[in-house]
């Protein structure tokens, strides 16, 4: 975007928009206000909702708050205590606290009479109660706290004076159930505070219109009934949301006039195009400098650790001032951290940061970063977003980034000064990753980003919201429906769907109307719904939120009598595979696993340097569609191979000569014998989730065809199925028919552990199962256990229940990537190229090396575990 196109006409420049105090402050700091900062002030003057897209380091946060600071500074003194003026929502608790620090500087330096406070789940009860009675001018908080606010009695009055809501890192939150819940809370606030305007802050995205729509209220033509209690000044706001939103064709800041608004309230309706918030674009930063690290050592065939390049990574860290070393999983982080310290001859201060470490330990690392005491931090996505650290001048991505947007986000953490380029080094961990890293670097250079598609709001999140509304104040179903439909993710929610969710909230939504007398929310004589009693409301408030933790255990030092200090936490499944005496890496140290007691995994220090269980798994992110396409294209383009290291070049050539190269739009399938088994390997490059689903469905088909497949494995690039009989004579067009996504998928899904996992999430979010009761907290595994029993019963007796539909949808998108598989099958129809080879091909080597390393969860595997335990029990019995 060229700067000239943007924003502010000369006469509207700084002196026109900024009060003298503000201009002086900028000048005193030796700054000029940035164009987009002034544009945001302008948008506020006009009362427009606005989305600001700017790279990190562009003064984005200040731009979001500037209008609030100006208004508050110019606010005439009032007799009554003023209510909350501006609400700021951040996906990260730490960010809310950090923004408070950053706002304090201008407020203090200008001597503004503004009170800023943060409120997170970590805030003390006393502070939170005081904030309810005596609101600050600006409150910084999280989506969960906002949902909680909406579920309090009196929230309408609390928010009545709200002028602005600022939502930070909007790109990181919109495409999730957390985003659904936040969108619903926005709609609620708009009802409470019709004058409220919405401000979104986002990093660069591929589809700004999607975020603009998410942010803006979607028109609702039904005039709501008067609220039961206090009647806020509602007329203006209702009109505003009807008439003022921009249509997609009317981009923004060039013409901040009213030229392109929708003609009249009467014409505004759901059939029209969606309403968009105005767009303000920050000045793009200098393009990043990205290199792919070419190791002196050979690029490994498979794996995720990049161990081969660790010496070179260390050298790069030595030359940088401060480096962030990003990896994709916490176990990769542990591994890289240990490897770096193994060769850290100069004793550089290198730290570790990931989500399993105890919060105090993470805060320590963050504080050390802020002080500039560290030379490197090995970290996971926990540091993707967050606090600005000026000293970071290099980002190292260890193992492939899996998507170009994630890479851009991470690169943005280096060098927060706009005029200097961010520097990043990608370190591929395997040969396919070498291709992927190269593709990612090129995509970023072209500013070609992938992103989450728009989503339809989830019904379990809606159920939680409806319950919250009923806890807050009585509502009429018609009003609430209109309000909910003004949230973009729910804009096309049908009234019948809404009524179904409402019934679910009230009675559980069962065909057997057994619970009509136990309703959670009840309809009063006045037609308004409200929560049945204060205890039920209290329980709901304790269970607000959409972040469902997997079952986790605390990792504690084993004491002589009591469990000792907590070191961190990790998923239960990790400990399930350990037996007492095993050693493993955590927090950069090797620990001996002693056993599990209650919700604690007890460990002791181990003298070992090499952990016995080196489980760091693969990447948790699947390869993005966008990068996949680039990788396929790169393989077909022999001229591009020159940019790759010699051994990878050689590998591609060998694949071309011994087998064939996958094309951009076809599917390469290889069959070959090895040992006493026959293998089929195909290379769709569509990501691990879609591949796993495809492998599972193909296995079912092969089984039916009498081929007798024994096993399958999938990674981001390929999938492999093996059996005892050759597969080269099959009708592959038939095998890959798209109809596999019908009954086969249904049948498999119903008995899959993935469905149970998805169901558990939906049951928790919707409030069917409660995570917390007053006075106790269920541990994750108690929940796991009971939700499986509930799933079995519900699935048999009411398979069309709302929550099962929810779980099915979640599993199909989040866990199986059915949509992407469908696109793949359509793309390769009639383009399947089968090569019957005498032996394993160069491309098949990586996935063949992974066979045998994978865990195989699922029913049959569970039975196998029991069979084996039984068999060894028999042996023990016989030998005793």
């Amino acid at each position: 975007m060229s700067e000239a196109r943007r924003h502010i006409a000369p006469e509207a420049a700084a002196d026109g928009l900024l009060p003298p105090r503000f201009s002086a402050w900028f000048a005193g700091r030796g700054w000029a206000p940035r164009t987009h900062q002034l544009a945001m002030v302008d948008k506020a003057r006009e009362g427009r909702d606005a989305l600001l897209i700017a790279p990190t380091g562009g003064g984005k946060t200040l731009a979001g708050f500037l209008p609030s600071l100006i208004e508050l500074a110019e606010r005439p003194p009032r007799n009554a205590a003023p209510g909350l003026h501006t609400l700021y929502i951040s996906p990260l608790k730490a960010l809310a606290v950090d923004v408070q620090r950053n706002l304090t500087t201008p407020i203090e330096e200008m001597g503004l009479p503004i009170r800023v406070e943060s409120r997170t789940g970590d805030s003390s009860v006393a502070k939170r109660q005081r904030q309810r009675l005596d609101p600050p001018d600006i409150l910084l908080t999280t989506p969960e706290q906002l949902a909680l606010f909406c579920a309090w009695e009196g929230s309408r009055g609390y928010f009545a004076d709200l002028r602005h809501i600022v939502i930070d890192e909007i790109h990181a939150i919109h495409a999730s159930k957390r985003g659904d819940l936040l969108a619903l809370a926005l709609a609620r606030l708009q009802t409470f505070a019709p004058q409220m305007r919405r401000v979104g802050l986002s990093a660069t995205v591929n589809d700004p219109d999607m975020l603009r729509r998410w942010l803006a209220p979607q028109v609702s033509v039904i005039e709501p009934s008067p609220p039961p209690s206090r009647d806020a000044e509602r007329g203006r706001g209702t009109m505003r949301s009807m008439v003022e939103g921009a249509r997609p064709d009317s981009v923004d800041a060039d013409a901040p006039s009213t030229a392109s608004r929708s003609p009249s309230p009467a014409a505004a309706g759901k059939d029209l195009e969606p309403l968009l918030a105005d767009l303000v674009l920050g000045q793009p930063g200098a393009p990043p400098v990205i290199e792919v690290l070419l190791s002196q050592n050979k690029v490994p065939w498979a794996g995720h650790t990049a161990q081969h390049a660790m010496t070179e990574v260390y050298e790069v860290i030595k030359q940088a001032r401060t480096a962030l070393v990003f990896v994709n999983t916490r176990w990769q982080a542990e591994f890289a951290f240990q490897e770096l310290w193994r060769i850290n001859d100069e004793g550089l201060p290198i730290a570790l940061h990931h989500g399993s470490l105890a919060p105090e330990q993470r805060r320590k690392v963050e504080a050390a970063m802020t002080r500039g005491d560290l030379r490197a931090v090995v970290c996971t996505s926990t540091l993707d977003l967050g606090i600005d650290w000026g000293a970071v001048d290099l980002v190292i991505q260890l193992a492939a980034p899996k998507g170009s947007s994630r890479l851009v986000q991470r690169i943005g953490r280096a060098n927060h000064r706009l005029d200097e380029p961010s520097r990043a080094i990608l370190v591929p961990a395997s040969r396919f990753e070498m291709l992927e890293c190269q593709a990612a670097a090129e995509a970023v250079a072209e500013n070609a980003l992938d992103g989450d598609p728009a989503r339809r709001g989830a019904q379990d999140a809606l159920a939680q919201h409806i319950m919250g509304c009923a806890c807050g104040e009585p509502f009429l179903a018609d009003d609430l429906y209109a309000e909910i439909a003004s949230a973009a993710p729910y804009a096309d929610l049908g009234r019948d769907e809404f009524d179904r969710v409402l019934d679910f909230v009230s009675t559980g939504g069962y065909a057997l109307r057994a619970y009509d007398r136990f309703r959670r929310i009840v309809k009063g004589r006045d037609g308004r719904w409200k929560v049945r009693d204060p205890q039920t409301a209290q329980r709901h408030r304790m269970n607000v939120g959409t972040i469902v933790q997997g079952a986790t255990l605390n990792i504690r030092m084993a004491g002589r009598r009591f469990a000792g200090r907590k070191i961190g936490e990790a998923e239960e499944w990790y400990f399930e595979q350990l037996t007492p005496g095993d050693t493993f890496l955590f927090g950069g140290e090797v620990w001996r696993f002693e056993g599990v007691v209650g919700i604690d995994a007890l460990v002791s220090r181990s003298g070992d340097t090499d952990p016995k269980v080196p489980s760091w798994g693969g990447s948790k992110f699947p390869l993005s569609t966008y990068l996949a396409k680039r990788v396929r294209r790169m393989m077909g383009d022999e001229a591009a191979w020159d940019r790759l290291p010699a051994d990878v070049h050689e590998w591609l050539a060998a694949q071309r000569d011994h087998s064939g190269l996958p094309g951009t739009d076809d599917l390469l399938v290889e069959t070959f014998p090895r040992g006493d088994r026959c293998y089929m390997v195909c290379y769709p490059f569509e990501g691990r989730l879609a591949h796993t689903t495809l492998a599972m469905l193909l296995t079912r088909r092969l089984d039916r065809a009498g081929i007798g497949p024994i096993g399958y494995l999938a990674n981001d690039y390929a999938l492999c199925i093996w059996g005892l009989r050759p597969m080269d004579g099959l009708d592959f067009d038939e095998l890959f028919q798209e109809d596999m996504l019908g009954d086969d998928l249904e049948a498999w899904l119903e008995e899959s552990f993935l469905m149970k996992r998805a169901f558990r999430h939906c049951a928790l979010i919707s409030g069917l199962i409660e995570r917390r009761f007053p006075g106790e907290q269920k541990s994750g595994r108690q929940v796991t256990f009971s939700s499986d029993l509930i799933y079995d019963v519900l699935h048999r007796h009411q398979p069309d229940h709302l929550l099962l539909a929810c779980a099915r949808a979640d599993a199909a998108t989040g866990l199986l990537d059915v949509g992407r598989l469908g696109e793949l099958l359509a793309r390769i129809r009639g383009r399947i190229r089968v090569l019957n080879l005498p032996k394993v091909s160069p491309f098949a080597v990586p996935i063949m090396m992974e066979i045998g390393r994978e865990r195989a969860p699922g029913t049959s595997a569970s039975e196998m575990i029991l069979e084996e335990a039984e068999a060894s029990s028999l042996v023990a019995e016989a030998m005793s």
Partner: protein
Amino acid sequence: MNAPARPLGFVAASPCGGIAAAIGGAAALLRHSGALWLEAERALVVADLHFEKGSAYARRGQMLPPYDTRETLRRLALEIEALSPRLVVLLGDTLHDGGAEARIDAEDAAAVDRLAAGRTLLWIVGNHDADGPRRLAGEVGDEIALNGLLLRHEPQAGLQPGEVAGHLHPCARVRGRGASVRRRCFVTDGERLILPAFGAYAGGLNVRDAAFSGLFARPPTAVALGPRKAHAVAWGALGAD
């Protein structure tokens, strides 16, 4: 094989997927459904059905699917159909609470009556249903002696040769292959037997829990339930949660 090789008196895996065992000298079949079959008496024994646990939660505002009684009865009916018992023993805690009978759906109540037709349906009382049913079909008792075995709800402290009880809802955790499995199970040392809970919503207690200690003369075996068969697993292979 000599005597010590079969400390628990297991005879064999049965073709039906159950485990044939000798409990206190009596022949018993531990079904993979979680039911006990005593062939000599043609008696089917199930423990801890917890009818209407779902509606008990709903009454307090948690709307669990109201089909747990129906599902438990469905599973019981399958066992009765397969075995044609003369006597069906419900080994206590058949009703989840005192109000369960009032909440039970008419169709489910009729299903109970059908199960009682043509055979004896005996309700051994438990701590959740100390009075037994008021209107559902069946006879009520505190315990029953059958073929040298004594069937009661709650296991008595100390060694009780020949006792068959429920109450504890035993579960076994088995680890292997980088994963772990948690299943309902029977527990027995060949002298006494504790049945798994049969109710669809009944939770489980790990057999390594202190509640099981002192009940067995030697390390007992767990017979873990699977979808097609039961698995006898030695004490040493059982893990804590």
